[in-house]
């Protein structure tokens, strides 16, 4: 609770709302004690006094010479009381209906919810007007109307929660112990829905104050001489032009009340939303933020795509997660490089950093360079990056159902990939899309063009994903676990397809996976990542035959039979370390059976005779 309040008041606006609302509440509570004139005593000789014009009438007087300040405070009192009463009544009946519907379920539920839906089919004011028309104008009737109109809202919300509760074991247990329905509802269900009822009330009470004020404004609520804020405003309307202050005073008060309730309500909602704390509600920008301290060393070009000492971090609040902690990689034309590691090893972040696709915030590239054909992509801005995305370096992602746009047809998604980089007509783009689908061996490509992603199988979707990556004949394809979401046979087909495409088109492929079997099938070279760094690197066959790092060795031991499909690496005891809290020295030490004191002493270099290298003091094999 105190954590909640702290969270709430960290939100400055919410705190402001609370203060304003508190002040108003205090004011109306002490109103009867204040030395104010009687709000209903008329004095026509004192009509329409301006604010501060006469002593004793701080805010002036209205069309009957009544003191505006007194009327304002008593009116506010009445408005708040009526709105609050309406909220309580609506919450009581609405919750009762919702609990009954949710608890008994089946027929009862069905009939009640049908009725509720019907009530919700009305624009609220029609219902309120009909009720007032039947009962006659008056504050009490307006209160009843407003409460009645809001009952369905509570009924629906509370029913939803009760349905979930009614299926829980403690309710079953209570039933078995022979308790009556009423007792179960009061002792088991009600305590659990009460917080929700309170929250729902706090979000609607502002509405109800406004609605009752509205009915009074229309002359259907409080009747003279007693006035709430709405009827004050309604009466003042006739003199709007000659004495605007009589309108402004009650109007501003309504505004203040509603705004402070809104602010407070927003604050409560935000404080209850766990996503806000984690910063997960911010949208990623068009390109990962690059914030490198100091210039990047010049380096000789080693491949078509070179990563040089790349560091990518996530900044969440005060915490810094070093997802990629200085990675050097290169891939040549026509070569396939595998990057392997457990989830959380930083392999995907490394891949996404290449084209600035790491979500930012919270991602920041803090050091290093990504060179495409010798040219550092990170020092150019979004414009250039955009032109290279898809055109020079293309991506294939893991789950094609989530990564293909759900509402665009295949042909539109493919054509768009082409037209984002080349000025071609729609017809031409369509032709080319068809060719692409053929190239990835999709049967009936013509009809597939018209499909939406959800109408296709996982394998077909991934073929579309690959076709899209090929759309602009890129030189490098980065495939981020493209087969993980697929079943074994489809996986084999996709791998074969990628291998063929690589040979036909001379593509450089960076293949991210957690499966050594897949690496063995496809990759010329492999880099093993652990806790954001490369721990071993070398030609696939050499690494497979003689793994040098203890981690690699165990990864390979996890694969019973190469190419056998998807497997988790859970067979390695222990968990990878959290990258916001890396131990000094070897990050693998806590899980390593060979670890000695020296392993935790300091930085361990990635060492060996090219093309092999390992980051370990006591490697399994000398490289």
């Amino acid at each position: 609770m105190s954590a909640f309040l702290k969270l709430l008041f960290r939100n400055r606006l919410a705190a402001m709302g609370a203060v304003v609302l508190g002040a108003i509440l205090l004011l109306v509570l002490v109103t009867p004690l204040l030395p104010l004139p009687d709000p209903n005593v008329t004095d026509t000789s004192q009509r329409f006094l301006r604010p501060f014009e006469a002593a004793g009438h701080l805010l002036g007087t209205d069309h009957l010479g009544r003191d505006l300040l007194a009327r304002l405070l008593y009116g506010t009192r009445l408005s708040l009381a009526v709105g609050f009463a309406a909220a309580v009544i609506a919450a009581f009946f609405g919750s009762a209906i919702g609990i009954v519907a949710g608890y008994f379920g089946r027929r009862t539920d069905n009939i009640i919810m049908r009725g509720v839906d019907m009530l919700m089919a009305f624009p609220y004011i029609l219902l309120a007007l009909a009720i007032v028309a039947a009962l006659g104008p008056g504050l009490l009737n307006a209160l009843i109307a407003v409460a009645a109109v809001n009952i369905p809202f509570f009924a629906r919300n509370i029913r939803g929660i009760t349905v979930g509760l009614a299926a829980r074991e403690f309710v079953d247990a209570a039933k078995l112990s022979g308790k009556g329905h009423l007792r179960i509802i009061l002792t088991e269900v009600l305590p659990n829905v009460l917080p929700v009822i309170v929250i729902a009330m706090s979000t609607t009470v502002g509405w109800m104050i406004l609605e009752t004020a509205g009915l009074s404004f229309l002359g259907l609520g409080s009747q003279p001489p007693v006035a709430d804020l709405g009827s004050m405003l309604g009466e003042a309307r006739a003199a709007l032009i000659t004495a605007p202050h009589t309108s402004v005073v009650p109007g501003l008060m309504i505004f203040l009340i509603v705004m402070s309730i809104n602010l407070l309500g927003d604050g409560v909602r935000d404080a209850l939303d766990p996503r806000l704390k984690s910063g997960a509600l911010s949208r990623p920008r068009s390109m990962t933020r690059v914030d490198r301290k100091g210039p990047v060393r010049e380096a000789a070009q080693k491949g078509l795509l070179d990563l040089q000492a790349l560091e990518t971090q996530f900044h969440v609040g005060a915490r810094v997660y070093r997802a990629v902690g200085g990675v050097d990689l290169h891939v040549k034309k026509g070569e396939c490089l595998g990057i392997i590691g457990e989830s959380g090893s930083g392999k995907s972040v490394t891949a996404l950093s290449v084209m600035g696709l790491v979500a930012s915030p919270p991602g920041v590239i803090t050091a290093g360079a990504v060179r495409y054909d010798g040219h550092d992509l990170l020092s150019s801005g979004y414009r250039e990056m955009r032109q290279r995305r898809g055109e020079n370096v293309a991506y294939i992602f893991q789950d094609p159902l989530a990564t293909l746009h759900p509402l665009y047809k295949v042909e539109d998604q493919l054509a768009e990939a082409i037209q984002s980089h080349h000025r071609v007509s729609d017809g031409e783009a369509r032709e080319r899309s068809l060719e692409l689908l053929r190239a990835v061996r999709i049967p009936n490509p013509e009809s597939r063009l018209k499909n939406y992603p959800h109408e296709m199988s996982g394998g077909m979707r991934q073929r579309v994903g690959i076709a899209m990556a090929l759309a602009n004949d890129p030189d490098v394809i980065i495939a981020d676990e493209p087969t993980t979401a697929l079943d074994v046979t489809v996986q084999a087909q996709i791998l074969a397809l990628l291998d063929d495409l690589r040979r036909e088109r001379g593509l450089a492929i960076v293949f991210i996976t957690h499966d050594f079997g897949v690496v063995a099938q496809l990759c010329d070279r492999v880099a093993v990542m652990y806790a954001g760094r490369i721990v071993e690197e070398g030609p696939t066959k050499a690494v497979l035959d003689a793994p040098a790092h203890p981690y690699t060795k165990r990864l390979i031991a996890c694969v019973p039979e190469l190419g056998g499909g998807q497997r988790e690496l859970a067979a390695i005891p222990g968990l990878p370390p959290s990258v916001d809290d890396l131990p000094p020295g070897c990050a693998f030490a806590p899980r390593c059976h060979k670890a000695r004191d020296a392993c935790a002493q300091g930085e361990i270099p990635l060492d060996g005779t090219p093309p092999r290298a390992v980051r370990c003091l006591y490697p399994e094999e000398a490289v």
């Binding site: 028309a133 990623p284 990564t403």
Partner: protein, 315 residues
């Protein structure tokens, strides 16, 4: 698609019937002798006898309901005693004015609200976002009737840019330009709250969508950012925005009652309030049923729009 529309229309029939039942039951709550209650201040002996005959008020409740329903289905909503003309004629005429006002406001709130939300999301935590958030907060907190009055003071009385009230100028008006001049203030005042609500929702819907994987895919293909936002992201965000637009239409329609009073707009809302104050119950009944029915049909249109937008919805 045609069959989907048909299906939705058929499913609306029980809702429409439900509306008539609810209105009928509310009216049956009126205490005392129904005929005199319904006639209120118009309860002359002839009128009482006529309404007893028309509505079968001496008959049991259920029978009365079906007589009333049958009459309505044949277009007979009864007769307004205060106006001395058929209820349906009056409602249709007034509804036309309301439709112009509420329709304009609805379009305004949809366009401005979504646009503000998109800009706000795309520039999250930027200056534009903060500014929009602030204006939206004011917009959703100021009661429509008060906003309307303040607009009259500023734009009509002080600046003299726009007419104070009414739908057409009394002398020499009547053309479209005249209507538009009269429409500006009430339409804006009415749209304010809904615009704020739509803007807030659009912002959060966009923020949600922009985090999705397919947005990253679009960026990875090199789609220009403007298209990522206005195309890929907005398209999906609309799926959650459209139902809220449907709900907001109800609020716009509700708010129209206040705005029609403030701006003396000759719409159905003002008619209803006048009818309640003169206790012309038949007029209230007919107006409420008619407008509610229109709202139900409008919501079907919203559902259809939704299914056009989202191919995943089974039609």
């Amino acid at each position: 698609m045609g069959s989907y529309i048909l299906k939705r229309l058929v499913s609306a029939i029980p809702v429409l019937l439900g509306i008539t039942v609810i209105v009928f039951l509310i009216m049956a709550m009126i205490p005392g002798d129904p005929a005199t209650a319904i006639l209120g201040s118009y309860a002359t002996p002839e009128n009482v006898e006529k309404i007893n005959r028309d509505l079968g008020l001496d008959k049991p409740l259920v029978q009365r309901y079906f007589i009333w329903l049958g009459n309505m289905l044949t277009g007979d909503f009864g007769r307004s005693f205060s106006l001395n003309r058929p209820v349906l004629d009056e409602v249709l005429e007034r509804f036309n004015a309301t439709l112009i006002l509420a329709g304009t406001s609805f379009v305004l709130c949809a366009v401005l609200g979504v646009l503000a939300g998109v800009v706000s999301a795309a520039r999250q935590y930027g200056l534009a976002d903060k500014l929009i958030t602030f204006v939206v907060l004011i917009g959703i907190s100021v009661p429509a009737f008060f906003l309307g009055m303040m607009m009259i003071l500023l734009f009509a009385v002080n600046l003299r840019w726009l007419p104070v009230s009414g739908m057409y100028a009394i002398y020499g008006g009547g053309d479209l330009a005249d209507l538009l001049r009269h429409l500006v203030m009430p339409a804006l005042a009415l749209a304010a709250v809904a615009t704020g609500v739509v803007a807030r929702l659009s912002r959060s819907a966009m923020l949600e969508v922009l985090r999705q994987d397919y947005i990253r895919t679009a960026r990875a293909k090199g789609v220009p950012e403007r298209r990522v936002i206005m195309g890929h992201a907005l398209r999906v965000a609309m799926v959650s925005i459209i139902p809220v637009l449907g709900i907001q239409a109800g609020f716009v329609l509700s708010g129209a009652v206040y705005i029609e009073i403030v701006f003396q707009w000759p719409g159905v809302g003002r008619m209803l309030v006048d009818a309640i104050l003169t206790r012309d119950i038949l007029l209230v009944q007919g107006g409420v049923v008619f407008v509610a029915a229109c709202y139900v049909l409008f919501n079907i249109a919203v559902d259809v729009a939704q299914s056009l937008l989202d191919p995943r919805i089974k039609t």
